[in-house]
């Protein structure tokens, strides 16, 4: 019998994102780049953003090495933020952080929630929340001018 929370954590969508990450690689001409590092496990991620003059994320890519949770979260994030404004992406990040910590995430719009819900299982694994948030913190640090984001 498989533990229900494990099934929830490693559901097919997550594994698919981690095995076949979307937007994996570099951008030719990014105007925001951020690097993220989880010093506890050594996981690293780099996020490339091309933000246009409308403050819209025209394109995004990431590269990195890490666990299924961190890779899936990064892949999902790139899917979710592409085409959005910077402000929308940051709001989405706030909601995502609430979601994976098991807190009230009602600020997330319903159709976004449908996509992000696959990550909600992380909240049952407090030791793994940092894996899920690394790419998002890195995206934010890229938007704020780069530097290395370290999972808090």
């Amino acid at each position: 019998m498989m533990d229900e929370s494990l099934r929830e954590l490693y559901q097919e969508v997550i594994l698919d994102h981690s095995r076949h990450p979307r937007h994996f690689g570099k951008l030719a001409e990014p105007n925001h780049v951020g690097e993220g590092h989880n010093p506890l496990c050594g996981d690293r991620v780099k996020v490339y953003l091309a933000v246009d003059d409308q403050n819209r994320i025209a394109d995004v890519a990431f590269e990195g090495k890490g666990c299924a949770i961190s890779q899936a979260s990064a892949s999902l994030m790139t899917d979710m933020i592409k085409g959005r404004t910077v402000a929308e992406a940051e709001n989405l990040m706030d909601g995502f952080l609430h979601l994976v910590k098991g807190e009230d995430a009602s600020e997330i719009a319903a159709d976004d929630r449908d996509h992000l819900d696959v990550m909600a299982g992380v909240s049952a694994f407090p030791m793994r929340v940092k894996c899920a948030t690394l790419a998002w913190h890195t995206m934010k640090s890229a938007l704020e001018g780069g530097g290395t984001a370290v999972t808090p």
Partner: protein, 416 residues
């Protein structure tokens, strides 16, 4: 002695009797029986240690080396008896060669700050191996950053073994210290310490060993090794956290400047001058972790009450069992297969990150370590981001290895 203890004519070690002393091994996690295989990170503590600490704190406690009252004398006796237990455990010649520290990390930092710091000039060299724990790297990096010391790295072979001649070859006219592990916390490699000490001494170079793992699994005789410095930590030796020890030859300690300043470590303080206490007090500023020291002494006496060779044979059986089972999985790669290695097993699983694997094992009750194990230089050497590490203690069983293996199969099913 760093050689494996002799195996002949021994009664087998009674693991079930030993387990009965560890209440934590009876508990469950997530409704599964706990299988604790993270002993290289920290070992569980037997009741005899916990009871001794509690009884000491309840009935005999006071500060040490201070008061003239009855309990102060009792506590001082207990604290110094613990020092004697450490001396006996590593067969040091003199009890004043044992300095209590917070742990292995502080012991090594003490040597860096008080022994090597004053002796290092820009361009002087420190020889290290690529399998050191960060606690035996960072203090030497401090001397690189602050004083221009040069770190000379000796690589391990692909199987994780260390060639004494490779260490000797790295020693040059400017080498001021060789600092290396007695037993790798990732690979389990046991280093040829005695040979390395002899080769280093031939060049007049002192040697420090990080014994945080080695002291647990090997018999240590610092006189036979002729080693200059040996660092150990209590919590991996079935003792409490917050206590460890540095062994240093008496002549070194006498020539070393103080580490922290404060009470206990002085002889006399005036407005204009201070004189320092003799070692080991010189290096034990402030009120020490007295209760923890008592616990460490009891832990070492407890470990010594076993036939250590029989314990080692038991741990090697577990290692052989786990190694065979994991080597059988065509999706796992064992890192570190040095001959004579100790009971630590690291591996990389194809297509599975160590953290995902460890999370699934955890839900089966199996506690392992996943990550870089504070050995990033070694991770880079083997071109891995992280590994899964299984590490054994005297209380582990063959059945627990079987639970581990079936949990690994399950992880493969979920993630593979």
């Amino acid at each position: 002695m760093t050689a494996q203890p002799k195996m002949s004519s021994l009664k087998p070690f009674d693991v079930e009797a030993a387990r009965a002393e560890f209440d934590i091994l009876k508990r469950e996690v997530y409704g599964k029986k706990l299988v604790y295989l993270d002993n290289a990170a920290s070992a569980q503590k037997p009741n005899i240690v916990l009871d001794a600490m509690r009884d000491f704190a309840r009935l005999d406690y006071a500060n040490v080396h201070r008061g003239v009252h009855y309990l102060s004398g009792k506590a001082t006796d207990a604290y110094e008896a613990a020092r004697e237990s450490v001396r006996r455990f590593i067969h040091a010649k003199h009890v004043d060669e044992i300095v209590f520290t917070k742990g292995g990390t502080e012991a090594i930092n003490l040597v860096a700050a008080s022994f090597l710091g004053p002796r290092v000039e820009a361009g002087d060299e420190i020889v290290l191996t690529t399998m050191e724990h960060h606690s035996n790297i960072v203090p030497w990096h401090f001397l690189r950053e602050r004083q221009g010391a040069v770190l000379r790295w000796v690589d391990v072979a692909d199987d994780g073994s260390l060639d004494a001649d490779a260490v000797a070859a790295a020693i040059g006219p400017r080498t001021k210290l060789v600092a290396l592990t007695h037993m790798s916390n990732v690979l389990g490699t046991v280093t040829p310490l005695k040979e390395i000490v002899a080769l280093a001494h031939a060049h007049g170079v002192p040697v420090l060993a990080d014994g945080c793992q080695g002291a647990v699994h090997e018999l240590v005789d610092v006189q036979d090794l002729d080693i200059d410095f040996y660092a150990l930590t209590g919590h991996k030796l079935y003792g409490p956290t917050g206590i460890g020890a540095l062994y240093a030859k008496r002549a070194h300690l006498k020539a070393m400047r103080p580490f922290n300043g404060g009470g206990e470590m002085i002889r006399e303080v005036t407005r204009d001058a201070i004189t320092y206490a003799d070692p080991p007090a010189r290096f034990e500023a402030g009120t020490p972790p007295i209760i923890e020291a008592v616990g460490l002494g009891v832990a070492l006496d407890y470990l010594s009450s076993f036939d250590r060779a029989a314990v080692a044979a038991h741990e090697h059986d577990l290692l052989a069992h786990a190694t065979a089972a994991i080597a059988d999985l065509n999706w796992a790669r064992i890192i570190g297969r040095a001959p004579g290695k100790g009971a630590i097993l690291s591996f990389e699983a194809e297509g599975m990150h160590a953290h995902d694997l460890a999370t699934i094992l955890d839900r089966e009750g199996v506690a392992v370590r996943a990550g870089h194990h504070c050995a990033q230089v070694l991770m880079e050497r083997f071109d891995v981001v992280s590994t899964t590490r299984v590490s054994f203690a005297l209380y582990n069983t063959h059945e627990e290895v079987d639970v581990l293996v079936s949990a690994l199969h399950k992880a493969r099913k979920i993630l593979g």
